[in-house]
């Protein structure tokens, strides 16, 4: 099933896919180099990773037309591991990441994405954009004015070149930016930092190599926390990107296959001396925009990237860092979800809080997993709070029999149980209390417990307590609510009883 793909997936759009693949390959080179620098490894680690991941996901991925490679989100998680233990441990962690992702794919954990609300996704994307931008700052501090001028000129070329008639839409402007700035630096002889100063570039095709680490429990202890975070963040970004590509192309994709595909790609990258990666939002948008739709586009991007880097490595080494920074600033701006800022006044406060909290936590910790965790948690709490408003009580006193009847409507669970209790007047001296629950739903044990408390309190005050409709109300407590997915079943459980 992982190898299944239709002829349409590969050959349905040859011209579009090949051209888009070329555009993406050109944009991937600076990104792969920049992300290697973020992670603190040689540029070749990111370039090999981008090649392996792009080529493998082209075959086994679940979303044709999506671009996966070395990414900023993943690079940020590796920084400490690389600094403390070195590259070999990173490669081992990459392998383990792949294994974890495959397991998650088989456990169908991709479906857990449904807990990640729209505002958390927006927060994730915005935080990612901010992190990519922030990662460029070291290149822009303590440098001569030449660097600022070149970066500004680079951005100018990237954004203005597409407006030139005819050729503007034919030649990728990031490529024009890189070529012109490199030419300028060489001709004028400006002394600025270049890619060559950042570490080794690939001079051969990648070769198979087993990470040089001891296979023991200590190694596992070191790499496991990193691999877990990498696996989670990698799948999150991949599944989010897959949804974006689904929306853009009006087609559907297999999310669980994508999880397994990402895992296999990371294992491949780890064995070829590359770092862990995942799907890239910015590059996937560029691919779709350039006309890429099929698996071929991803394959072309990976293969062309490697060919260009291996054969042109002398030239790639001469690219000034300022040109790379300009491209990365573009990627960061393009990744940012501008709509979320424009619509901030229109959205409810709780949505905005979730989004901003996600961004703040990520920027604070440099770990997208924490941000998503906080975002999902907040969104769930807000939801629970909203649902708890759907509960009210009516009460009625029959003076002749000295009977007080409480009739409850709505949802009673951990968050609304205090409100549930607040509806009772324990100080009222009556001889009989009737609690009618036939129009209420008890969702958990907390709700049942607070009912018990109410009954005990009334009895202590000397009243006789009758409860009506408890069985129907507590039918919702069962954990496997999935069996009630037919209209008549739902009506039986949630209806007016």
């Amino acid at each position: 099933m992982l190898l299944h793909s239709t002829k349409q997936d590969w050959l349905g759009n040859i011209r579009g896919d090949v051209l888009a693949g070329l555009v993406v390959a050109l944009a991937l080179i600076p990104e792969a180099i920049a992300f290697s620098i973020i992670a603190g490894v040689d540029p070749k680690v990111g370039l090999y990773a981008s090649f392996c991941i792009a080529v493998i996901t082209a075959v086994v991925g679940g979303r044709p037309g999506m671009i996966s490679a070395a990414t900023g989100a993943m690079a940020l998680l590796m920084v400490t591991l690389v600094r403390q233990h070195g590259l070999e441990y990173l490669l081992a962690a990459t392998l383990l990441t792949g294994v974890i992702q495959i397991v998650m794919g088989y456990l169908k954990l991709g479906s857990l994405m449904s807990f990640v609300s729209r505002s958390v996704v927006t927060g994730f994307v915005n935080a990612l954009a901010i992190l990519i931008f922030m990662a460029q700052l070291p290149e822009l501090t303590n440098v001569t004015w030449h660097v600022y001028a070149m970066t500004a000129a680079g951005l100018g070329v990237i954004y203005l070149f597409p407006y030139i008639p005819v050729i503007g839409k034919l030649i990728p402007s990031p490529l024009v930016c890189i070529l012109s700035l490199t030419a300028l630096a060489i001709i004028v002889g400006i002394d600025v930092r270049t890619v060559g100063d950042m570490g080794e570039l690939p001079d051969t095709l990648p070769v198979f190599l087993w990470p040089d680490v001891d296979l023991n429990f200590t190694t596992l202890q070191i790499i496991f926390p990193y691999s877990m975070a990498l696996a989670v963040v990698g799948l999150l970004e991949s599944l989010m990107t897959a949804t974006i590509v689904d929306d853009l192309t009006d087609t559907s994709s297999d999310k669980n296959r994508e999880c397994k595909g990402q895992g296999i790609a990371n294992i491949g990258a780890g064995l070829m001396g590359g770092m862990a990666g995942c799907a890239m939002i910015g590059q996937s948008v560029i691919n779709v925009k350039s006309g890429g739709r099929g698996r071929l586009s991803t394959m072309v991007a990976g293969v062309v990237l490697l060919i260009m880097v291996v054969f042109l490595n002398d030239w790639v080494a001469k690219i000034p860092m300022a040109a790379l920074v300009a491209v990365m600033i573009m990627v960061s701006i393009g990744t940012f979800d501008w709509g979320s800022v424009v619509n901030i006044k229109k959205h409810p406060l709780s949505t905005n809080i979730v989004m901003i909290a996600t961004v703040v936590v990520v920027v604070w910790t440099h770990n997208l997993a924490y941000g998503v965790f906080v975002g999902v948690l907040l969104a769930s709490l807000f939801f629970a709070n909203k649902i708890s408003h759907f509960m009210y009580a009516e009460s009625e006193l029959d003076e002749e029999t000295s009977t007080r009847t409480y009739t409850f409507h709505g949802q009673i669970f951990f968050n609304s149980s205090a409100k549930f209790l607040a509806n009772f007047n324990f100080k009222e001296a009556v001889s009989k209390v009737v609690i009618d629950l036939s129009r209420a739903h008890f969702w958990d044990i907390t709700a049942v417990h607070s009912l018990d408390m109410a009954v005990i309190k009334f009895r202590r005050e000397g009243a006789q307590v009758d409860i009506i409709g408890l069985n129907e109300a507590s039918e919702t407590i069962v954990d496997r609510f999935g069996v009630h997915d037919k209209p008549e079943e739902l009506e039986k459980v949630l209806g007016g009883h």
Binding site: L175, T249, K289, S290, G291
Partner: protein
């Protein structure tokens, strides 16, 4: 054939005549008119509603492409809007075209005396659309070549095989202008789908009263032919049994012309794709060789 085995095959094949409508697959190519005629004939003969199907195949190949590779603020949203706009105009044009095709066919069918005609449009490939409405179909009619291969004189359309393989209902493949069939030929090899065809000749009001030529190609077919002969004779069908030798598709096509037979029944694609890939599928060869309509049973 003993009555016992006959009963068995009846139980197994009780789904043969399930379904409500006769379906005609139309795409506006030159065969569409012929498909409509044959489907009208079938609908009238079995007294069922005629359903005309047109599918809107989405071409997801991009209409706009921009190789600038630059992304800025809100470019994802802009791209989504741009693509939506292009695809909306494309799809609505296709829907309108399809409605014209369906309306023209509907008028034609009503004019020939079909009592009830329904039309239906569906998004997706033909095979996808058919699978969705398969339960509703009693039998379907499709042209041998669709729009893409309209001007080729030979060969079968590229969707035909996948359609036949994905359906489990009788399929009439049309390759010529309509003329009322008055004789049928059954290409018989004793397989399960051939037994189905035999049953169809006996039971279907469509083929009632038509003489039938049962043809076996190869050696030692006497026993099989006898079997078919008995079944058809018992049912009061006028039978001619023939045993021929040579390349199956050529021999059958030749016999058909010599005896002026308008309609051929046969089992289709009883082997899996892998075997057919190696040995070549007889059904595909027959579809390519004949110039008379084929009624395929799976």
């Amino acid at each position: 054939m003993t009555s016992q085995t006959q009963d068995k095959s009846k139980v197994k094949d009780s789904s043969l005549f399930s379904g409500r409508v006769i379906l005609a697959c139309l795409d506006g190519s030159s065969t569409s008119e012929q498909v409509c005629d044959y489907a009208s004939w079938m609908a009238k003969a079995v007294d069922r509603p005629l359903k005309l199907l047109h599918t809107i195949e989405h071409n997801h190949n991009p209409a706009v492409s921009d190789y600038s590779g630059a992304i800025g603020l809100g470019s994802q949203q802009e791209l989504l809007e741009e693509l939506t706009e292009v695809e909306q105009s494309r799809a609505s044009l296709l829907i309108k075209k399809g409605q014209l095709i369906l309306n023209a066919a509907k008028q034609k069918a009503l004019a020939t005396g079909v009592a009830k005609v329904e039309t239906y449009q569906h998004h997706g490939t033909l095979a996808e659309s058919l699978i969705e409405i398969e339960d509703d179909i009693r039998a379907m009619v499709i042209g041998i070549r669709g729009k893409q291969h309209e001007h080729q004189a030979e060969g079968i359309g590229h969707q035909l095989e996948s359609v036949i393989r994905s359906m489990h209902k009788p399929i009439l493949v049309v390759n010529k202008a309509f003329s009322q069939p008055n004789k049928t030929m059954l290409a018989y090899d004793g397989s399960a789908s051939c037994k189905k065809a035999l049953q169809m000749i006996v039971e279907s009001p469509l083929l009632q009263g038509m003489p039938c030529h049962v043809v076996y190609v190869g050696k030692n077919g006497e026993a099989l032919l006898d079997e078919a002969n008995v079944v058809l004779k018992n049912a009061g069908v006028e039978v001619t049994c023939v045993q021929l030798e040579g390349e199956v598709d050529e021999v059958l096509a030749k016999y058909q012309i010599e005896n002026d037979i308008e309609l051929t029944l046969m089992g289709a694609f009883s082997h899996n794709r892998f075997r057919d890939l190696l040995l070549g599928s007889f059904t595909a060869k027959m579809l390519a060789a004949t110039n008379r309509p084929l009624l395929l049973l799976r």
